[in-house]
């Protein structure tokens, strides 16, 4: 589904990703772990098309389509969803209005008709209820005044409503207490389906207690240095990155 080959990405003059290869098949959950500065967030931004992340070499395709040529919104239209590490606050835009606009933009991109306001409201309400979000929150401006946990829950509701085929979750678990972590895990697990792929980027193993990955990769210095099954995450937890001979600034 997602094929990344020899991806090199510069931020400013500095090369952050140095030839990354990664392949996700439909139905799989992959976890990418790695020390700070390894290039984890750069990978998520490069895949979702953020300005300032310059791909100098390599390819990334989603279902055979070249992602790197597309604008950020076109990639969303192709089914890419990025869960932000720090969701942005947008004063003055209600969550509901935001989702309505996003859903219809994506439908337009796919050549589908707009969803009626009633259907959309139903959809959003049901997803919010599944993820135990207070419906009042839908009226509030996007992420403004939300706690860290509420912001991440909001990301999960957005993900559920937009129903992407590739979800990239960039340290969505950072800074969360155990209850908030469970909400995030619940959101991810609900999305799991045979036709979807999920890429969980995390520094710590603890999210993986709740979202069991099919494959675990270790990213260090801009490359995947080791891949394995879920046991690799446990090994990392036990031995640290040092156990793999990788320096971890944060450890």
């Amino acid at each position: 589904m997602l094929e990344i080959k020899n991806l090199h990405v510069n931020v400013g003059d500095k090369e952050i990703l140095k030839g990354l290869d990664l392949s996700l098949r439909a139905g799989e959950v992959h976890a990418i772990m790695g020390p700070n500065g390894a290039g984890k967030s750069t990978l998520s931004y490069a895949l979702s098309g953020r300005e300032g992340y310059e791909v100098t070499e390599g390819t990334a395709t989603l279902n055979g389509k070249d992602l790197l040529d597309l604008e950020a919104d076109e990639r969303a239209g192709e089914g890419v969803f990025l869960g932000f590490q720090y969701p942005v606050e947008i004063p003055g835009v209600s969550n509901m209005n935001f989702l309505k606009t996003a859903v219809n933009s994506i439908r337009k991109y796919r050549g589908e008709d707009e969803m009626t306001a009633v259907d959309l409201l139903k959809l959003v309400r049901s997803k919010a209820a599944e993820l135990k979000m207070d419906p009042e929150m839908l009226k509030r401006p996007v992420n403004v005044g939300f706690s860290g946990g509420e912001k991440k829950r909001n990301e999960m509701v957005q993900m559920a409503v937009l129903d992407p085929c590739l979800a990239i979750l960039d340290e969505t678990d950072s800074g969360l207490d155990i209850d908030a972590l469970k909400i995030v895990a619940d959101g991810i697990n609900r999305l799991r389906a045979p036709d979807k792929a999920i890429l969980v980027i995390t520094h710590y193993q603890r999210l993986l207690d709740y979202v069991v990955p099919d494959h675990v990769h270790v990213l260090a210095d801009g490359r995947i240095v080791k891949s394995g099954g879920k046991e690799l995450a446990l090994q990392l937890e036990a031995e640290g990155y040092a156990g793999l001979g990788i320096a971890d600034d944060a450890a």
């Binding site: 300032g52 604008e71 919104d73 969303a76 947008i90 004063p91 003055g92 835009v93 606009t101 933009s105």
Partner: protein, 451 residues
């Protein structure tokens, strides 16, 4: 004293001489006011309050009021654009004259008097003369003086003490093609008695085909505990010069909430002078201005806290697209002994294009110590992080820009308008954006690479 210049000095003199007989009532007042206009002329940009707006568009012709108008059908077609306001009493002015046929009078409570200025003047209402004051101290007062000299009509609205006007008063000013090359000179007088209440909605609509000049003066006095809610939607024609001035006097515990949505005109200027004369009065002013190619919007507020224990709040937001210009000048004055004054001003501006320009001058003059006064002013472009967030959720550059601009304006609309007007004004903003934004940002965002 800054030097004044005169536009078409002789032309106005001749016009005044030939018009004078046809204008309703108060000939001495008109003559005095006209002499003052001749002495002061139009304000130039050397006058501090007019630093950012030049009236050169008025220099090339003599813009005198039209005597009568016969564009009934045209006016009626414009009226379709007016705010559908449930149960409102409708006053319609066409080309500077009250139009009985298009207006819908309605039952008003006892104690409410609503007449056209022309008929009030023709009837020789003596009390009125004192209220048609000219402000002979103010710099740049020529516009008020020429209005007093040439005013053709307007409305006089008096609400007696303890009267709540249950139906909103809706006034629509229409400028048809008859007014191109001419001016409308309207004067409104509003006085609210003690403990009375009124909602007022005004809308300016105009023809796009040529230059005309709208010159409005609206003065309000608010008695003790009186409450006025005023909303003004300015959608003058694309080549119009719109100048409006208001003087508001507030007695103790009076309250004014006002909103200006400025979308039209080539040059628009709104000057509001507010004076607190009694304690515990409150003023909340809100405004949104959106400017496109060739438009210039200018807002001046002077908030004079003459006595203490009063609150004033101001929020003005602007969005300026390609070739547009705007200015906000807000002056808050706190007199000696006006203790426990709270005064805040916020002015936020968003520039959408390289050729847009904004000037902001929030000013404080404070002579009392136990006060809380603040102002904030910002200028910026669309937030890059927000844009990316929206685009990563699937919005294209146009949609993302539109949503953020709408949101930026929505915050002030929501603060300043009640639910009934909010939806309508949001629609006006949206339709303005649909017809005006050339969306140069889209090109920029698509072309990327602006690091």
């Amino acid at each position: 004293m800054a030097k004044q210049i005169y536009y078409q000095n002789d032309g106005y003199q001749q016009a005044f001489a030939s018009l004078a007989d046809g204008l309703p009532g108060v000939p001495e007042l008109r003559a005095r006011a006209f002499a003052d206009f001749m002495a002061t002329g139009f304000p130039t940009q050397k006058v501090e309050e007019w630093k950012y707006s030049g009236l050169s568009a008025l220099a090339n012709a003599v813009f005198v009021p039209v005597k009568t108008t016969d564009r009934h059908a045209e006016a009626e077609s414009f009226l379709a654009q007016s705010v559908p306001l449930e149960g409102a009493v409708q006053l319609v002015f066409v080309d500077g004259h009250f139009n009985t046929a298009l207006s819908q009078a309605g039952d008003l409570e006892d104690g409410v008097t609503l007449t056209s200025l022309a008929s009030a003047l023709a009837a020789g209402d003596n009390r009125l003369e004192g209220r048609l004051k000219t402000n002979e101290q103010a710099q740049g007062r020529g516009l008020r003086s020429v209005n007093a000299a040439l005013m053709t009509d307007g409305f006089v609205l008096e609400v007696a003490a303890d009267t709540t006007v249950s139906r909103p008063i809706q006034v629509t000013y229409i400028s048809t093609s008859a007014v191109v090359g001419h001016s409308t000179q309207l004067r409104n007088v509003i006085s609210l008695g003690k403990n009375s209440q009124l909602r007022l909605l005004e809308q300016h609509i105009g023809v796009d085909t040529g230059t005309y000049w709208s010159n409005f003066v609206t003065d309000c006095t608010l008695g003790e505990d009186a409450v006025l809610e005023r909303t003004v939607l300015q959608e003058e024609g694309a080549k119009a010069v719109y100048v409006a001035e208001g003087d508001v006097q507030l007695a103790a515990r009076a309250s004014l909430k006002a909103f200006w949505l400025t979308l039209g005109g080539q040059l628009s200027r709104q000057s509001q002078f507010l004076t607190f004369n009694g304690m515990e009065a409150e003023v909340a002013l809100y405004g949104a201005y959106l400017g496109a190619e060739g438009q210039s919007h200018d807002m001046l507020t002077v908030m004079d806290h003459k006595v203490g224990h009063c609150n004033s709040d101001q929020i003005f937001r602007g969005v300026l697209d390609k070739g547009a210009k705007a200015a906000f000048q807000g002056r808050v004055i706190v007199a000696p002994d006006a203790q426990l004054t709270n005064a805040n001003q916020a002015n936020n501006n968003m520039l959408l294009d390289r050729s847009a320009e904004v000037n902001s001058k929030p000013e404080l003059k404070i002579y009392a110590d136990d006060v809380k006064c603040s102002h904030g002013s910002t200028v910026g472009e669309l937030d890059k992080d927000m844009l990316f967030y929206l685009r990563s959720r699937g919005l294209d550059a146009d949609a993302a820009e539109q949503l953020l601009v709408e949101a930026f304006i929505a915050e002030v609309l929501e603060e300043g308008l009640d639910a009934e007007l909010l939806d309508f004004m949001q629609l006006r903003v949206r339709s303005w954006m649909a017809s005006h934004t050339a969306s140069p940002l889209t090109a920029e965002a698509d072309g990327k690479e602006r690091t």
